[in-house]
Symmetry: C2
Subunit: 230 residues, 2 copies
DNA sequence: CGTATTTTTGAACCCTGTCAACTATCGTGG
DNA sequence: CCACGATAGTTGACAGGGTTCAAAAATACG
């Protein structure tokens, strides 16, 4: 019995482009594994040993400076592809923010398989191009947006991504998959500034925070308005 | 006579993976064109009509906000690939910073050609992955570095990239391909702040500025030291 | 040589970071 | 079930780096 057949991210992950036969081949070089919260799957600067798909949970891409400051480069959720195929070293670390399940492949085996399966490479290319576009959008956020705009944009993004997961439209009530510290690292702010913006949005009646990680968007339009200058 | 045979970026561009025969096919759907300084090749939000290689000159990727602020997402030099294959709209504009020559393909023709040429797609994939890594590095710069660090890092990057162009080692004397305004847009600063950091580096004897666009690195080590916090 | 554009310099202000203390929440064990 | 400590988040005061606004200087261009 092929593990892929009942895979939770079957449709979203790069594997969807493969025929049953090819999928079976890929399955044979793959391995389901769990990652505990805080544990790293790849280390910045180390040899890039594996690649894979996120099945469940949240991971972050994180890079740290010479002087110790570190920055989160992205958040990876179920269906996302992680790792750096066709490269020797990993430019950043991949660390689990929650307990997670991933489907991993040794990089060399995956590279070889991909080279022989153009549809897979094509899928990976499209995905990478999209990721590049998304990363460039974040660049603009970091370069030109102030604190309130960054936080508002982050909440909207998370609202969209969490709604995609459970299939409903735009979910106005969801749990953040990350801590304030992670948010700060991602948004290029400090934890205190993030906290102040959240408080401000709450005081303005735009959101409610019924729990530590819970967010309820009370006024989506107003939140969107916070996204751009005045 | 195949125009590719005497192409100045033959070795660096994605085309290098192709056989003579395939190269000839690609050449037939390609078109050499010039872009005047300030002119756009692609517009943010518009249909992505073309892709191509930069042959000569400098272009920028640029995105603008709802509220008018705009940000430069990257600088493209000779050999770089521009455009968004396999997507309908362009997430950003591509604008010439200097007069430039590019080798363009209609996106649909290129897409079709690429799908039938796995080695080309593979080359494009590797290039896109590398570009993604580079973009993520800039993200860290924007998220965690202060003004002097950003300017120092930019000068070092330009030193490296301009040396690559003329073949010499690390060129300590070069002309910036961009204006102060472009630098500011790229680094997420204002033009005034950029100017102040340049002045500061000059006053500290780390660089000299014999002309508006000219940079001479007098003390490379010291410049590198400015790259990270104290 | 004069005008337009780009760059530099100056001063005041404001946003965000920093440091510190306080509060809420979670998990653990008595 | 509650007490306790540990962790996460909030709030406040203050300082500093960068932006903003304004004007001068330098350079390019006709």
């Amino acid at each position: 019995m092929n593990a892929c057949a009942q895979c939770s991210v079957r449709e979203q992950a790069i594997c969807h482009s493969l025929s049953a036969e090819k999928l079976d081949q890929l399955n044979r070089i793959g391995r389901r594994q769990t990652v505990k919260k805080g544990q790293a799957l790849l280390w910045q600067g180390d040899e890039a040993l594996l690649v894979g798909n996120v099945l469940e949970g949240t991971l972050k891409l994180s890079a740290s400076n010479a002087d110790g400051r570190d920055h989160t480069l992205g958040i990876m959720l179920a269906g996302d592809f992680i790792g750096r195929p066709f490269g020797d070293t990993s430019a950043h670390s991949v660390i689990a923010l929650t307990d997670a399940r991933v489907c991993t492949f040794s990089r060399s085996a995956f590279d070889a398989f991909a080279r022989e399966n153009p549809p897979l490479e094509h899928g990976l290319l499209e995905r990478t191009l999209t990721e590049l576009d998304r990363t460039r959008q974040w660049m603009m956020l970091l370069g030109r947006k102030n604190a309130i705009e960054r936080v508002a944009l982050f909440l909207i993004e998370m609202s969209k991504r969490s709604s995609k997961a459970d299939g409903s439209g735009a979910s106005l009530k969801f749990d953040l998959p990350v801590s304030r510290q992670d948010m700060a690292n991602l948004l290029g702010l400090t934890i205190e500034t993030v906290s102040r913006q959240i408080t401000r949005l709450r005081d303005d009646g735009i959101i409610a925070t019924p729990g530590r990680r819970a967010i309820v968007i009370l006024d989506y339009g107003a939140l969107e308005a916070c996204t751009a200058e005045s």
